[in-house]
Symmetry: C2
DNA sequence: AGTGCAAATGCAAGTTATTCGCATTTAGAG
DNA sequence: CTCTAAATGCGAATAACTTGCATTTGCACT
């Protein structure tokens, strides 16, 4: 599915998000990059495109996307950094390469049954979970050998 | 299983960890507290016991325990904080109450089969994963009603 | 029991990632 | 086109953690 810039604006509007230059830029970067990105990486990509968006705006835009359910925020293992990725329909998880940061979606989410079992057993009201699996992708494995 | 202070020292020694006042304190706090603790909470507990341990020492001790495989470091959802908990034999995960931070172990780890499947499918070398499930415990659910 | 030294700690300053306050600018409804 | 609430840029602030270095301490070896 190839979408034009206009389509993206439309998509953001549909989610109650006013279209602005920073928002469009961040959204397109997230869409075109298959994988997870840190705020820093998004900022750098913006700069490489010859644009400027303030760092705090990047954070505010990302926070907005997360709030609206368009983007998922998680942690990159072994760092203090948050990383962001576009939410896919039907809740997936990431298999993350520790070397090149490439990600593969794990879907469907393997935890819905487990959550039900756990809720029944513990009487907790379960509201969410974080799952990330990490390792090294085939390419990086070769390089590291 | 009730263990004396001496037993704890012995246990640390067995893992190649020299026994010092800060290390014993942190270890005992982690053991006696059933749940996850942030560095800050550990620091506060030390203070409440009438002792003092420098904050950087707390971090260094925790990092050491993690390195030696005694303690697991994870993130508390919705914050920027790392939290720490004693590793149990046979790798478990936590069900965390977002309100009172009480945790329940989920064991055995439900992911080992999944990891094998994913490794076979993607040719990744999988080195680890993070899984946390969060929600509200029965007590907090009552209080919040 | 005393001694030496590598390792651990305390302290203060530094870093990193993220957030906030406020003045200015802008998207988009009317 | 105009007005206004919302978004942005900027700089400063904060939170959580890390580091460098001088001092202290555990403990192996007399």
């Amino acid at each position: 599915m190839v979408c034009s810039l206009e389509d993206h604006r439309e998509y953001l509007h549909q989610h109650g998000i006013k279209s602005t230059r920073p928002r469009n830029l961040v959204w397109e970067i997230l869409l075109t990059h298959d994988g997870i990105l840190s705020a820093e990486e998004i900022y750098q990509t913006v700069v490489q495109q010859g644009e400027t968006v303030n760092f705090s705006t990047i954070y505010r835009v990302l926070e907005l996307f997360v709030e609206k359910g368009l983007v998922e925020k998680s942690f990159f293992p072994g760092t203090q950094k948050n990383v962001f990725s576009v939410c896919h329909v039907g809740h997936t998880h990431h298999l993350i390469c520790l070397r090149c940061h490439k990600t593969v979606d794990i879907s469907p989410c393997p935890l819905s049954d487990l959550e039900k079992q756990i809720a029944a057993k513990t009487d907790f009201q379960i509201v969410g979970h974080h799952l990330e699996i990490y390792g090294y992708c085939p390419e990086c494995r070769k390089i590291m050998k």
